[in-house]
């Protein structure tokens, strides 16, 4: 058949085993029923397999992956928050320690300052006492010295007068003269 038709056909010849010889195959109504039936069977089967097996499985895989990624991200976030909290706690402890050190230094400085002040006050008080004692002593000495001045003056006058006139003055005259001079 092939050899004979190859010589005579004009391009669209249909072999003898066709449903309706001579028609263009896609428009051959004789094959429609069979094609629709088998399409319904195969496509129905495909739809059933897709909706019952394949698609739930793939969506399950994708969901697992999404959950896993979301879970990992959440875990990473949690760890980050933990480390942030640790850093914050560390910094707080550091700040507290710094504050304590400051306070101790400040207290120590204040205590030392008060101590020095107290000692200085005590020393100054001692010095004032000693100064007062010394002044009192000086005043006493001065009083004593002044008390002796008359006597010394009398003696000196006696000696001077004796040397000048060769005769010692009387006691009464001497005292009168010295007293008048000392006034």
């Amino acid at each position: 058949m092939a050899t004979t038709s190859a010589e005579t056909h004009t391009g669209t010849e249909v072999p003898a085993d066709a449903h309706s010889p001579g028609t263009f195959p896609p428009f051959d109504g004789g094959t429609f029923a069979s094609q629709i039936l088998w399409l319904a069977i195969t496509f129905g089967l495909l739809y059933w397999i897709m909706s019952k097996v394949a698609l739930p499985r793939i969506s399950g895989i994708l969901e697992d992956r999404r959950d896993r990624i979301a879970g990992d991200l959440a875990e990473a976030n949690r760890l980050k928050q933990e480390s942030d909290a640790a850093i914050a706690a560390y910094e707080q402890a550091l700040a507290e320690a710094r504050g304590n050190a400051h306070k101790i230094a400040h207290d120590t400085r204040a205590k030392l300052k008060a101590d020095v002040e107290a000692r200085r006050t005590a020393a100054e008080a001692g010095l004032a006492d000693k100064l007062a004692d010394a002044e009192k002593h000086i005043a006493e000495l001065k009083t004593t010295a002044l008390a002796n001045v008359g006597e010394i003056a009398t003696d000196t006058t006696t000696a001077l007068v004796e040397t000048l006139i060769g005769k010692a003055p009387t006691k009464a005259e001497l005292t009168k003269a010295v007293d008048s001079a000392m006034k």
Binding site: G30, F32, S34, I36
Partner: protein, 252 residues
């Protein structure tokens, strides 16, 4: 017969079945429908059998096809559209694999028969109509009366909308069918030129030399046809998603 570009669309009976006066034979077309279903199912089931957290290459392909169709459906019909996901996914994979299987020499292309693409288109439109009326009742008819149209124009616009709705299954099915049919015929014609030129008497050495031209063309067309095989499956899917969107949200 070897050079007849129409021969590849011929349907031949493998197991003749006759019921109630109807010819329901298991044909080469049915065989390739079974093959398409088998390839899609085996691909998706075997590739995902590991359920790996880190996918293998095959599992990655299965996941890609899943997410590709899912994002197409979600962007056209929103999250509510995901209830039709098994249908849309089955349609996409069936058309895509049927188109790709048809690219093998001597293999039958299921989608090159109008009745098959028309049946798939009617499945889509039937789903749209049934779901539309089930969900929205008579409000589904608002699909034909767009908002904001002046009163006088409503009958005209409604008529246009009805005609456009009725032409959907036709355009949806003819687009896929005609693309596959025309592509395969062109490919066959150019491949036939190669053979004819080599075998031609009277051209001498020029026969095989000039045969290079249609050969280059046939190779280029093969690449183009792979693109068309994917593109038409995608177009079919996108339009399906848009029509399903009408069923979900009838008012424009």
């Amino acid at each position: 017969m070897a050079n007849d570009p129409i021969h590849q669309f011929q349907i031949t009976k493998i197991v003749p079945i006759e019921m109630g006066g109807l010819d329901l034979s298991f044909t080469n077309s049915a065989l390739f429908m079974v093959a398409t279903t088998a390839v899609v199912s085996l691909f998706l089931i075997m590739s995902t059998s590991g359920r790996g957290l880190v996918p293998t290459r095959w599992q990655s392909m299965a996941e890609m096809s899943y997410e590709f169709v899912a994002s197409t459906l979600r962007s056209s019909a929103g999250n509510e559209g995901m209830r039709f996901f098994p249908l849309v996914f089955s349609l996409f994979m069936f058309v895509l694999i049927a188109n790709l299987i048809g690219m093998f020499p001597y293999f039958f292309t299921v989608t090159s028969h109008l009745i098959v693409t028309f049946a798939l288109a009617m499945l889509v439109i039937g789903t749209v109509v049934l779901y539309g009326f089930a969900k929205h009742g008579m409000k589904f008819l608002k699909l034909f009366v767009p908002d904001g149209v002046p009163g006088a124009l409503v009958p005209l616009v409604t008529l246009i909308e009805v005609i456009s709705f009725l032409s959907r299954p036709v355009s949806l099915s003819v687009r896929l069918f005609a693309n596959m049919l025309a592509g395969h015929i062109t490919l066959k014609v150019f491949a036939g030129f190669v053979v004819s030129l080599i075998a031609a008497d009277g051209l001498g050495v020029m026969g095989p030399v000039t045969a290079i031209l249609p050969l280059v063309m046939a190779v280029a067309l093969t690449g183009l046809e792979f693109l068309v095989a994917f593109l038409q499956a995608y177009v079919f899917t996108v339009l399906t998603c848009m029509y399903l969107n009408d069923a979900l949200h009838p008012s424009h």
